[in-house]
């Protein structure tokens, strides 16, 4: 099986492109929930193909963007005050906290190591028994299972110097919070790969439309075209336009392992605020692996930057270019707001790929 079309425009892609380019009618607001969708849509220049009557809103599905400032402050505190080795995805290294970032602290001697997988972080801890290792556990339903596998390995290996600083998040609360700002969701394909279609069906019952989408050019083009066609029929809809990866029931194994180690909790989303049942924390029986409890971290109230309109951008109330800081005080090198800090954030994508 060849997996990708290798860049050729196929008949289906051309048809899909025509549909999204030539649409005329009532305005359709589509929110791409997922930051990787935002990134790929910009990288592929898909916005430039859209009819004027279609607007794309870059939603809250970038874990780095919605992780509050105080989380970085906690990580910095662990690295500096507690002398921990911080293991993290590369995505978080440059993100500014209230006063500093992990990158800046690494320059001053803090141990910060970039890993590809939470499992690698656990292996590192096993191989460095004299270091206190903390993995920065961020991400949505797609990523959380890997953190839990790492934790399971640590528990079964009897690794005492490994813990998680959890800021894992779940999408359904955000789906509900954003539903009045958009006509249809471009659902995050890899979240659905793990969760199956159940969460999307519940949204459909609330009258919210959406299409589950993959990440390649043919997948994004066809998913957007399906939205346009179904929207014109006038009824709420749900279509899985990524069936090669997203199956009805997702991965029950992934959900089971998350359930074994974590439980839902209220969580703060940068730019949006606190939402009930929108985060995951470690269960009490695994408190020894919870960095906040293990190192007795105080509650930190992070200082958000002023004047930044990220909250409005995330909710589709304005575009990055409407923000007075965009491209001036706030750039990828000196990010002020949540949406500029990650390369998957809406402001960063607008800035970097800005031709569209």
């Amino acid at each position: 099986m060849t997996v990708n079309t290798g860049g050729r425009m196929t008949g289906a892609m051309e048809k899909a492109r025509d549909i999204i380019s030539s649409y005329r009618g009532p305005k359709i607001r589509i929110m791409e929930v997922c930051g990787t969708h935002t990134h790929e849509i910009f990288r592929l220049g898909i916005r430039s193909l859209l009819s004027e009557d279609i607007s794309l809103i870059s939603g809250p599905g970038c874990p780095v963007c919605v992780t509050p400032v105080s989380y970085i402050d906690e990580a910095v505190m662990l690295a500096i005050d507690k002398g921990c080795t911080i293991l993290t995805f590369g995505d978080l290294v440059r993100v500014p906290g209230s006063d500093s970032s992990l990158q800046a602290e690494r320059g001053r001697g803090a141990k910060v190591r970039v890993v590809y997988s939470p499992l690698d972080a656990e292996v590192y801890a096993r191989e460095h028994p004299d270091e206190e290792c903390v993995f920065l556990s961020v991400g949505f339903e797609t990523t959380t299972p890997s953190s839990c596998i790492a934790l399971e390995n640590a528990v079964s290996d009897g690794i005492g110097n490994f813990s998680l600083l959890c800021a894992n998040k779940t999408m359904p609360a955000a789906y509900r919070a954003m539903m009045n700002t958009t006509d249809a969701y471009l659902y995050p394909g890899h979240v659905c790969a793990v969760m199956g279609l159940n969460d999307c069906r519940q949204m459909l019952e609330l009258g919210m439309s959406g299409v589950v989408a993959g990440f390649t050019a043919p997948e994004l083009l066809t998913a957007l075209a399906v939205i346009v066609r179904k929207f014109q029929e006038g009824e709420p809809f749900l279509v899985n336009a990524y069936p090669r990866v997203v199956h009805e029931n997702g991965s029950p194994e992934a959900r089971a392992i998350v359930d074994r180690y974590m439980q839902p909790c209220s969580s703060r989303w940068r730019g949006i605020g606190d939402m009930e049942d929108s985060g995951m924390r470690l269960r009490d029986e695994y408190a020894a692996y919870d960095a906040r409890r293990k190192y007795d971290l105080p509650h930190i109230e992070g200082r958000e930057s002023r004047g930044c309109r990220c909250g409005h951008v995330l909710q589709g109330e304005c575009t990055p270019r409407d923000c007075p800081l965009f491209g001036r005080a706030c750039t990828p090198d000196h990010p002020v707001g949540a949406c500029m800090v990650s390369s998957e954030g809406a402001c960063s994508a607008f800035y970097l790929y800005g031709k569209q």
Partner: protein, 337 residues
């Protein structure tokens, strides 16, 4: 001479008998040529015409990697810098800073590949210097090379010379050195057969300039890769670029590694790949010449110079749209979550 087990000590840097031994056993043995000097400076015949002169410091971890080592790199880097100015490399000097305890046989291996690479590029190593630093003060060995070359009268390459309508070529697939080093450091548990593209490119450049002396720009896509270099040239020339995404050659394994880590090969370093900007009507000729040469068989035209989007690199995608190639950032970090 058997150097096994022998290591460099601070005495080797003190200037006495042991320094002479180090130079004799390792450097002289390999760098021997009529101009190589034991005096304070090499005395050389004056070349005719304009000369180009450049210097570059090399620190790389690991020092030995698939496709080369720091020694080969230190020659390629300076030879290629000269080649970018259209200068035939003539003379090179090299300065070593060696960490106390560094094994002689590894040093010999480094020096031997310097000799081999210099020979291939037709350049003579005429003077050298060694310093030994205490344990922990340097990481193994650092090398600085300085090169002098001579430029043919008709040749005039500079980042400022890019003209709207010119074609942009790369002399090979991109990002292989950066990817190779990333894999060698083994921080991400990824395994792939990727060897560094590290190579001296004067012969390729020479072949091109003999037939097409009016090449406008040559630039080696080292730190920051092709993407960074194009943004530099865009700023220097006041022009823009339009690239065809699909025509940019990338080794499939490099693509696979980048896919896993969310990286873009456009920003990964090359050590044997140049960006060349040539008048459009000469592009096919240049391409054919490059493809005949040893290290540039995969050369490709990847786009052209524009006067519309000044200072920007525009990418034409596989689906016919246009986007900006993002401006290069600071540190390359894997993007996962």
């Amino acid at each position: 001479m058997d150097l096994t087990g022998k290591t460099v000590t601070l005495a080797h840097g003190a200037g006495g008998r042991q320094t002479a031994e180090l130079i004799g056993q390792v450097f002289k043995a390999h760098f021997s040529n009529p101009y190589f000097t034991a005096d304070d400076a090499a005395v050389l015949p004056r070349p005719g015409g304009r000369i180009a002169m450049t210097t570059d410091g090399f620190i790389v971890s690991p020092r030995f990697f698939n496709g080369g080592n720091i020694g080969k790199l230190s020659i390629c880097g300076t030879v290629n810098d000269l080649a970018c100015m259209g200068a035939r490399p003539l003379y090179l000097t090299c300065a070593f800073v060696i960490e106390e305890g560094f094994p002689f046989d590894r040093l010999e291996e480094i020096v031997s590949s310097m000799e081999k690479t210099a020979k291939e590029a037709g350049v003579r190593i005429v003077a050298g210097d060694t310093k030994v630093a205490g344990k922990g003060q340097v990481d193994g060995v650092f090398i600085t090379t300085t090169g002098v070359g001579v430029i043919d009268d008709q040749v005039n390459t500079s980042g400022k010379n890019a003209k709207p309508g010119d074609c942009v070529l790369v002399t090979g697939d991109i990002g292989r050195h950066g990817c190779c080093i990333l894999l060698e450091r083994d921080e991400f548990g990824i395994d792939a057969k990727v060897s560094s593209d590290c190579a001296p490119l004067w012969n390729s450049v020479d072949a091109v300039l003999k037939e097409v002396p009016d090449v406008h720009v040559i630039r080696d896509a080292t730190r920051g890769g092709v993407g960074t270099v194009l943004y530099e040239i865009a700023a220097e020339s006041g022009c823009g670029f339009e690239l065809e995404q699909e025509s940019i050659p990338v080794d499939p394994a490099v693509g696979g590694v980048c896919g896993m880590l969310g990286l873009d090969p456009m920003y990964l370093a090359c050590e044997g790949t140049l960006v060349m900007i040539v008048p459009r009507e000469k592009a096919t000729k240049v391409l054919n010449i490059l493809r005949e040469q040893e290290h540039t068989g995969d050369a490709a035209v990847i786009g052209y110079v524009t006067d519309t989007e000044k200072g920007r690199v525009v990418m034409r995608t596989s689906i016919g749209t246009q986007t900006y190639l993002p401006q290069p950032g600071n540190e390359l970090l894997p993007r996962i979550c």
